[in-house]
Structure formats: structure tokens, C-alpha cells
């Protein structure tokens, strides 16, 4: 008998209020309710979290690493987007 597998879920945890949810790993569960419970039991055993998100792994669309240059390279030259590009006299103080 071939057993049907439980779907894979990705787990995100907010460690403190004010922080964003951060990807911590994955797990298997039959549905969202169980995925939340399993995430709690697996990834928050040492008080790591205040809030948990679970997302079916197959619901995530990822960018293609092969397109990394096309997608992310063009931004490197746009240094005028960064504050250090502009000169402000020291006497003016912090801006």
C-alpha cells in the first residue's frame, strides 16, 4: 500500500511584538488547523514566538535564481536612492 503524504507547510514566527514574522522552517500537516498546532509544538518550545503563520509550501511562488541578475542587478547602480548620495553641510546637523 502506498500511503498518501501529508502536505508540507512553511512556518513563520513573530518573536516579539513589533518584529515581522520570520521564516523558521517547515513541517507536515493535513490542514491549516493542524499546521498551526504542529508549528506551536515544533517551533515554539522555548518561548520563541508570540504569533505563528503557516502557509502551504505549494502556495509560495518564488523568483527564479537564474533571473537574479535581471531582477536585482539594475538596482545596484541607482545610488541616488540612498541618503549618503546627498551632501548636507555638517552645521545643519542630522537629517
Amino acid at each position: 500500500m502506498t500511503e498518501k503524504n501529508w502536505p508540507l507547510w512553511e512556518v513563520f514566527i513573530r518573536s516579539r511584538n513589533g518584529m515581522a514574522h520570520r521564516h523558521v522552517g517547515s513541517l507536515h500537516a493535513v490542514d491549516a488547523t493542524m499546521a498551526l498546532a504542529n508549528a506551536r509544538d515544533t517551533y515554539t518550545r522555548r518561548g520563541e514566538g508570540l504569533s505563528v503563520w503557516v502557509v502551504p509550501s505549494n502556495a509560495i511562488t518564488a523568483s527564479d535564481p537564474a533571473e537574479k541578475d535581471m531582477l536585482f542587478e539594475p538596482t545596484a547602480s541607482k545610488i541616488y536612492r540612498h541618503p549618503t548620495f546627498y551632501e548636507v553641510p555638517d552645521e545643519v546637523g542630522h537629517m
Binding site: 500511503e3 498518501k4 503524504n5 501529508w6 522552517g25 517547515s26 490542514d31 493542524m34 535564481p65
Partner: protein, 330 residues
């Protein structure tokens, strides 16, 4: 040890793409991390799946010898700590299976390899835990040896594996201390307890040294893994590091190591130790250790007896989803 998989020769076909291989190696040399969707040589992928899954299997099978003693732990404090520790091993197995799954092999496939005896796990877990002192030894020596290997793995080249190892090392930090404290309490206890500790050390010391795998001279397959930065130190280097760290800890609590050749070399600053019986190591790896059959049988039993539960949970989730669809359609 947990990286014994790296001492196995990769027999699979090596599809060589010289140009991409070189670019890949250049990334590794720059200490860049490799992430799941990145291109990687097939052999790198296979080696990692084998290494990570063997590591995961070791955590899971490793729950059995220690789990043996949870119901017999001699105090409530020890009982809680041991249950938490063995639970951690399960968690570590889970993190590692997750890392392996990012390489495109499902946990079920990996588990199947374990249950059919195709996949290996650390040789150490084929030894029995006969007394309470063994629980101390597993923590002190086995987890101590594991940490020697696991800390460098936090910087291994494959991102998901390195991240899992960081989490594992953080959680493991109490395991070895827990074990040493158990042994120390026995060594400072009554005559029966001291004898129990010494007997356990006598039985666990050599198998613990074997955890690091065969001597470098015989371990011909590590060069590629070193180049790929999957592995970062040689077996012998790690073994020596372990001996240097552990021997003074044992002497401190009045235990004797079962090695008449053990002596400190003032010139090198290292503890020299006697010859390891590699024929025993080979026997255990070949499935003829004291508990190989029992460990696999226990894993298979748990898996088989859990089949109806896993099926039922899926069936219920499907029913629930169908009902929700019906309601939405109304």
C-alpha cells in the same frame, strides 16, 4: 558520527558540466551559501540529501536508547529533563528532514530508506542503554561528540542545512551539560553509583570515538566534501579535539578511561590515545551491532502502527474541505 554519511563513496553517475561546476565551486570558494533553487551539481545534491537525511535518521533512532529510560528516570527533575531532551532530538530530526526536503526528496521517501535499512544512521545508537549511567554517558560523550561535528556544520555551504544546524546547536547546548551533570552526580555518589558510572564509561568510550568515522588515511571520499564545504574538518582532527576536551572532564570527577595507552603529550599539548578497534565499527555499520535489529524493528513498528492515524487525519481533512466547499456553493 552524524556525518558518517560523508565517508560513504558516492556511486551515482557524475553528470559533469565543467563550466557550471567551476562557477559553482567559485561561489563556494567565496563562502557564498547555496540556496534550494540554485543550480548545483547532481553529486552535491545527492551527497547533501544523504548526509542530511542520515543526520535526521540519527536523531530519530537516537530517541530510542534514551527514550528507554524516561519511565525509569530516578527523579522528577531527571525525568522532565530527559523527556525534554529526547523531544528535542525529535525536533532536530524534523528540522533536518525539512532541510533535506528543500533538495527535492520527500520525508516519506527518506523515512522509507531508513525503515527498509537502505539508509544509515549513526553507529552509536546501535549500542544498548543498560543503566541510568548510560543516559549520562549518552549526553556527555555522544552529544559531546556530536557537538564537535555540528558546530562547524553551522557554516556548511548549503543554506537550509546551515540554518537547521544553528537552531539545533542552540537547543543542544543543554544536552551535554545535562549528561555530564548526571555522570558527575553518580561519580560523587555512593559506591554503587560510582561503579555504575565507571561501567558505563567503559562501555561508551570507544564507540564514542568511533562516531567520528574512519581515520583520515582510510577516508578517501572527504576531499570533495571539504572542497564543497559540506564538511569542514577531518575525522581525525575532530576526534582529537573531542579527546582533548573530554579526558580532563572525566578525570575531574575521578573516572578512568578504559585505555591504558591514554597519556598527555606535553610537547604537542594533546592527549594520545590507543588504537581503535575498527573491526567493531565495521560490524556495527554492517548491521551486526548489539541493537541494530531492535532499533529498526521499533521504528518500523511505530510507523506501521501509526498508518491508520495518518490516514484518518488525511481523510478527515478531505471531508472537512469538501463540506466547506459545499457550504460555499450554497
Amino acid at each position: 558520527m552524524y556525518t558518517q554519511a560523508l565517508n560513504v563513496k558516492d556511486e551515482g553517475p557524475a553528470l559533469v558540466d565543467a563550466e557550471r561546476d567551476a562557477a559553482f565551486q567559485a561561489r563556494i570558494d567565496r563562502d557564498e551559501k547555496i540556496e534550494p533553487n540554485d543550480w548545483m551539481p547532481e553529486k552535491y545534491r545527492r551527497t547533501l540529501v544523504r548526509q542530511i537525511s542520515q543526520h535526521a535518521h540519527s536523531e530519530i533512532v537516537g530517541m530510542l536508547p534514551e527514550g528507554n529510560w524516561i519511565t525509569r528516570a530516578p527523579s522528577l527533575k531527571r525525568k522532565a529533563a530527559l523527556l525534554a531532551k529526547v523531544q528535542d532530538e525529535g525536533g532536530h530530526g524534523l528540522y533536518l528532514y525539512s532541510a533535506a526536503e528543500t533538495l527535492g526528496t520527500s520525508r516519506e521517501e527518506l523515512n522509507d530508506q531508513l525503515l527498509t535499512g537502505k539508509a544509515k544512521y549513526s553507529s552509536i545508537f546501535n549500542y544498548p542503554t543498560l543503566t541510568w549511567a548510560d543516559i549520562g554517558m549518552v549526553g556527555w560523550l555522544v552529544d559531546g561528540a556530536a557537538i564537535m561535528n555540528q558546530i562547524p556544520l553551522c557554516r556548511t555551504s548549503y543554506g537550509p542545512y546551515a540554518r537547521a544546524m544553528i537552531r539545533i546547536c542552540k537547543e543542544e547546548s543543554f544536552h551535554q551539560r545535562q549528561g555530564y551533570e548526571i555522570v558527575m552526580t553518580l561519580a560523587r555518589g555512593n559506591a554503587d553509583q560510582k561503579a555504575m558510572a565507571q561501567d558505563a564509561l567503559n562501555r561508551w568510550w570507544w564507540p564514542a570515538l568511533m562516531m567520528f568515522g574512519p581515520p583520515d588515511a582510510e577516508s578517501l571520499h572527504t576531499d570533495q566534501n571539504m572542497a564543497w564545504r559540506i564538511k569542514r574538518f577531518s575525522n581525525d582532527d575532530l576526534r582529537q579535539k573531542f579527546v582533548d576536551a573530554t579526558v580532563p572532564q572525566g578525570h575531574h570527577i575521578g573516572l578512568e578511561f578504559p585505555d591504558k595507552d591514554l597519556k598527555f603529550n606535553e610537547a604537542t599539548g594533546h592527549w594520545e590515545f590507543g588504537a581503535i578497534d575498527w573491526s567493531e565499527f565495521k560490524r556495527v555499520l554492517a548491521g551486526e551491532g548489539p541493537c541494530n535489529r531492535q532499533r529498526l524493528a521499533q521504528r518500523n513498528k511505530a510507523h506501521d502502527e501509526g498508518a491508520w492515524v495518518r490516514e484518518a487525519a488525511l481523510a478527515h481533512a478531505e471531508k472537512r474541505a469538501a463540506r466547506r466547499m459545499m457550504q460555499a456553493a450554497e
